[in-house]
Amino acid sequence: MNRLTKGLIAGGAGLALLIGSAGTLALWNDAATLDAGAVDSGVLTVNATGGTWDNTITAWSPGDTATYTADVSIVAQGDNLHSQLSIDPSSITGDPELLAALQITMSVGTTSGGTLTPVAGQSNTFDVVSATPTTTAPITAPVTVTVTFPADSVTGTVAQAQSVQLSGLQFLLQQTP
């Protein structure tokens, strides 16, 4: 046995002695059970179905508009859960002039199971409030995203033959403090 092995054995013996002296079952002791129930977490989800664009424009020109409408279903279960539904136009990418010219807005139709209320000062953002926050009953509404190439957004030949990808755009449901 070399010197290193001996050192390890000595260390182990020392550890055993410590456990013996630090035990909690010495002398009398008692315990009582506290039945605090379960902690159940809530749910925050969003789904969009049936989404379609109202028209397909091959070559956009100033004044053109297209809308995307989908049935959005939100589950916001939580006694103290606050959340917001939004879209994030900054997620789209493309040629700068056309990107700067396009306007993207979101609007909400008749809502059931709760409310979706526009947030003042924050475009394309809606406060989500469930009518029954302790259940998973969904909040449903038709939500429309409108993409507009405003007629007065460009002059001359600005933003011609350019493209913008909307592939990064999504309905975003975010818990808020």
Partner: protein
């Protein structure tokens, strides 16, 4: 040998600590704290069209020219009261429908000796009466859709009362300005 091993054993915990810190940094740096979810929006692309106009003298359009010159003889040697016409053709080589608006350069627009009128259609078969031209652009004819050409007839008239001392001189050196403005019904 043992010293090298000892050095290695000291380095290992240091490397491990650095890796954990990096992972923790990524977690903390996420942009969506608290709960969040997303639902995709059907992918699409916005591709803008083009508005490009060309011009040529005569009945045949040009695929690329944005300026053209009349034959110097076209309006040479005119007599008082005489009117001469020349056909020009505008092309819409883009994808966007436009209206043609015509005007004159400022100097010519103020001329009392000469007047200009532009009508849709070739001079052989004008489609409408000519529009008297001035410094302010005026729409001529109907909308011109993408990938089409349309002819116009320019009529230049020398005033019957032009002074006699104007004989043999250049009465006007004019530029016809054509604007192609996007048309939306």
């Amino acid at each position: 040998m043992r010293e090298r091993q000892a050095r290695r054993s000291l380095m290992l915990p240091a490397l491990l600590t650095a890796s954990i810190a990096l992972v923790a940094g990524i977690s903390v740096g996420g942009s969506y704290a608290l709960w969040n979810g997303g639902a995709p929006i059907s992918e699409t692309e916005v591709r803008s069209g083009t508005l490009t106009a060309t011009v040529a003298v005569g009945d045949t359009g040009s695929p690329t020219a944005t300026s053209a010159a009349f034959d110097p003889a076209a309006f040479d040697g005119m007599l008082p009261g005489e009117a001469r016409s020349e056909t020009l053709t505008v092309g819409n080589t883009g994808t966007t429908t436009f209206l043609v608006a015509a005007s004159l350069d400022a100097t010519s627009a103020g001329s009392a000796a000469v007047s200009w009128a532009l009508a849709p259609g070739s001079c052989a078969a004008p489609a409408a009466a000519g529009v008297q031209l001035g410094a302010a652009p005026q729409n001529i004819g109907g909308p011109l859709t993408g990938a089409t050409f349309s002819s116009y007839c320019l009529t230049v008239t020398l005033d019957p009362e032009v002074p006699a001392d104007a004989a043999g001189t250049t009465v006007a050196d004019f530029t016809l300005i054509l604007d192609a403005n996007q048309y939306r019904p």
